[in-house]
Symmetry: C2
Subunit: 549 residues, 2 copies
């Protein structure tokens, strides 16, 4: 509805004639047609932010089921007059210069002229450029109105080749061959192991991140777990031991729900590596996401297993995953016992994520969710929970995920000298506009997220349009959270006039910085917090844009 | 002993001839004698850091008792050949140019030539310049060796006038006339109400701050409380009410001891007001001190009064003091109920400070000690503790002690828009060397303190000698503290060579920044955290010194 309302009153674009099939008339030919058919759109040279807006609204349903339903309903009657294309050919059409193509079911559409008309904004529709619409439509229910598909048909230019229906067989020799399929919208930083973040355009569009777009940080191949035979082992000193099936975890302990943001220690590492090279994946601002988690409280399971409510000295709860390296060693990490057993700590053995069962990439069938604590301790595919006087012996607990001074290098680093990261420091980032964007003069909207570890809520976000010289206070949005248990992020927005003096192609340096409930703030610059592993990158976030003349 | 060992091998200075009495030969005359009698010391022009070093070591005892004992023992036989001086005349001799005089008992000494020989360092002995030694000697037991007084007698130049013994009668019309006597070493920022901080030279000399030097932040006159008739009222909804005498607080609840640092929200305000003027007392780096507190746990008293261990929604515990303004309104503040009732919160109704009963300036006979939380909530001279669904209605809770963005001024400030400060952000400062000091080339010692609110321990302090371009890691000292309950500060020290290139009168900008257990860090600069009340001033601390040629 929204989509149609927004388009009403504008000239509906005339469908383009079918283009010749790319296999016979290759890329250069297709491109040469583009300027003639739509010189306006093609000539602007800044239409990169377009496809994403078909995706900006609505409720989320599990991608897999939705995908089947939507593609079934969208099946158009065969139109033999359209040329046939492979997915690879469609994939070449991702910019106004090459024309922007998308698929839906077996149909191919050229939406170049629709991009600027997209009610959700041009940046969002562009996320699907060169590929299928369904994964994005599945996230934003507004697209399931029949009028949407009718409108889309106006832009039809072809059909997918029949042989495109069959998926390629996985290469079984590859330890990652059993990894699950992923959403095409994810920005992949590493394929094996799979590490990916949601696109910045969608990152802060929703308070709860859709499961399909939730950032994924895998250290090892995704294990294939049979939920029927799955058992969690809980153990500790004095011979206490307990094995729990998934069914027992679901039925013997009350289900507890917590909305919590998870953030990788390496979020925003890309900014740190621009100061000096660091070791680690080049995360942009998206190694952070928020979900409503459901599961048994770790506290309840520990008390059931006979452990005491009192903190047992400075003990730890160690987690082990079912994901293992080539030598069979599992991923592991630990958290302080006090956090694990405290009612206010809200630590879960989670089997649900945003109302659905855990996706395989996020720990199916069971993961630890440790609110307020670095992602690395939220161990996925849990196989063992052990109470211990020592921290987890895992590499990732002892020799990684720690912070060091900028003067420490790989020759001088002593991992025993720094504490394992648990609570994370206050953080924020600008999700809109994007670096390098050209913004119109007048009212500018700046949007982003802010979060802090340890249950500290965000109490203020300051935004500067002049590199940090002067500041304005952003409007905060998000759920009200209990004091000291503010586990979820805060989304924020600022509308500010771009002063006439700044117009005329001038560059703006937009900056944000957050303040948390302990009045901790982010540091001004990256270099003084630089560290060899590129973790804890929480300096002011800076985005340079230029103002359209 | 230490003092004598350090002096052995140096030429013992020859006692100076008695100077003519100042009353007849006024200040100019006294000054004119100085250069001739000791041209070397007088000509250096940088002896300001001298007297303080007589004070640098040893254990602390209550100043009042010690003072009486020491001055009794130190009474020298009458020496009628010495001239007589008033305290005011002695007070004019505070620098090498005017000669440095001190008193002990009724004797007057010129210690100008001893300053550089002082084993505790010249900066510390200089704190007593122009006044009495006893308040400082009382803090550092090493001075009670008889040899110390023998050595001092070598420098005797006069006696105090007999009329100096009688103290002036207080002006009873003044509401502050009942305030207690204070230690002369305190740096006074406001006399009425009394607000003072320890001198930076002594601030981080001890892990526990001597009671006499503990920073004092009074909002109103100090109430005079009779401990025999004193009653604390504890009340809340549902008509729960309880009155407790001091004796009952001491005997009916277990005594709990906590080492906690208190910090005023305005600590380091002077740096903020250099950016733009702010409203508030000009605290330097000393509105922070540490003590071992003893008392009943607030938790135990609340449970005894019938309140529940569970958090009662987002309730508050409100404190009221016996100190009142001219209209009779008491000082007040509140803390979240969860902090007050939690065993891990360690909140005390304290009647002891470093093993002694609370001094009057620090809340005699009972104060709240809320570890990890801003000083303003640690209400002194407690008369009432009330559990309430709302925060304290006090001005100091609702319309003060809150943080705002740099763009908020007195025309736009909305106190309801910001949360009351509770936990404070990570903090650190350099106590040695002092700004403007001239340091010798070679090995430089940098010392200071670091602390963070909310029980977050300090995990690292980075020090830069080049304004923040490069960093070194300081050595941390202090007591081991439980995870999440690190209520006390961490003292730190760095020995670093001052590079040859930097010598030759060149200026060094020394900088420190701390990292706490949540890996929060201090912001680089003051301007972006500037706020109209000048609170939460925790940017990197910077000290400029020059290197002696």
């Amino acid at each position: 509805m929204l989509l149609l309302r927004a388009v009403a009153g504008r000239r509906l674009p005339v469908p383009l004639p079918p283009l010749p099939r790319c296999r016979r008339c290759p890329r250069a030919g297709a491109a040469s047609l583009a300027p003639g058919s739509s010189p306006g759109a093609g000539g602007r040279g800044r239409a990169a932010p377009v496809l994403a807006a078909l995706l900006g609204l609505g409720a989320v349903l599990a991608y897999g089921e939705r995908r089947r339903r939507v593609s079934g309903a969208a099946q158009a009657p065969p139109a033999p007059r359209y040329p046939l294309y492979t997915r690879e050919e469609v994939g070449r059409h991702r910019s106004p210069a090459d024309r922007i193509w998308v698929t839906h079911g077996t149909e191919v559409f050229d939406v170049t002229d629709f991009v600027e008309l997209h009610p959700g904004g041009p940046d969002k529709i562009l996320l699907a450029a060169g590929g299928a619409l369904e994964p994005f439509w599945a996230l934003y229910a507004v697209h399931h109105e029949p009028h949407v598909l009718e409108l889309l048909r106006e832009y039809k230019v072809g059909e997918l080749s029949p042989e495109e229906v069959a998926a390629p067989a996985p290469a079984t020799a590859d330890p990652f061959s059993g990894d699950p399929p992923r959403h095409p919208g994810l920005r992949v930083n590493s394929q094996k192991p799979f590490n990916a973040e949601p696109p910045p355009e969608l990152l802060a569009e929703r308070f709860l991140t859709p499961n399909e777009l939730f950032f994924t940080r895998n250290h090892l191949p995704v294990p294939a777990v049979d939920p029927e035979s799955y058992q969690l082992r809980v153990e500790g000193p004095g011979g206490r031991e307990l094995c729990l099936s998934l069914e027992e975890l679901r039925t013997r302990f009350p289900k507890h729900e917590v909305t919590a943001t998870l953030q990788c220690a390496g979020n925003r590492r890309a900014e740190m590596s621009r100061v000096r090279p660091v070791k680690g994946l080049e995360w942009d601002i998206g190694a952070i996401s928020t979900a409503r988690w459901g599961g048994a409280r770790l506290r309840d399971v520990l008390l059931h297993a006979g452990f005491s409510e009192e903190r047992e000295g400075e003990w730890h709860v160690c987690f082990e995953g079912l994901d293992t390296d080539v030598g069979g060693a599992p991923y592991g990490a630990s958290i302080p016992y006090g956090k694990a057993v405290s009612a206010a700590g809200d630590v879960l053995l989670a089997y649900e994520m945003n109302g659905a069962e855990l996706p395989r990439d996020h720990g199916f069938p069971l993961r630890a969710v440790v609110p307020g604590v670095v992602g690395a301790r939220n161990v996925k595919w849990l196989r063992r929970v052990a109470v211990s006087p020592a921290e987890s012996p895992s590499h990732w607990q002892r020799n990684d995920y720690k912070g060091f001074a900028p003067c420490v290098d790989w020759d001088t680093v002593d991992y025993s000298a720094a504490p394992a990261i648990q609570e994370l420091p206050v953080q924020s980032a600008i999700t809109h506009p994007r670096p390098g964007a050209v913004v119109p003069p007048g009212e500018l909207t700046v949007k982003g997220y802010a979060w802090s570890g340890g249950g500290h809520g965000v109490v203020r976000v300051d935004v500067s349009l002049d590199g940090g010289r002067t500041w304005q206070v952003a409007r905060l949005a998000g759920e009200r959270q209990a004091l000291g248990r503010a586990w979820a992020w805060t989304l924020w927005e600022l509308q500010a006039p771009v002063a006439a003096a700044a117009a005329g192609g001038e560059e703006l340096e937009i900056v944000c910085k957050a303040v948390d409930s302990s009045y901790n703030v982010q540091p001004d610059t990256v270099a003084p917090i630089w560290n060899l592993r590129g973790v804890l990158s929480n300096a002011w976030h800076r985005v340079r844009v230029s103002v359209r003349p």
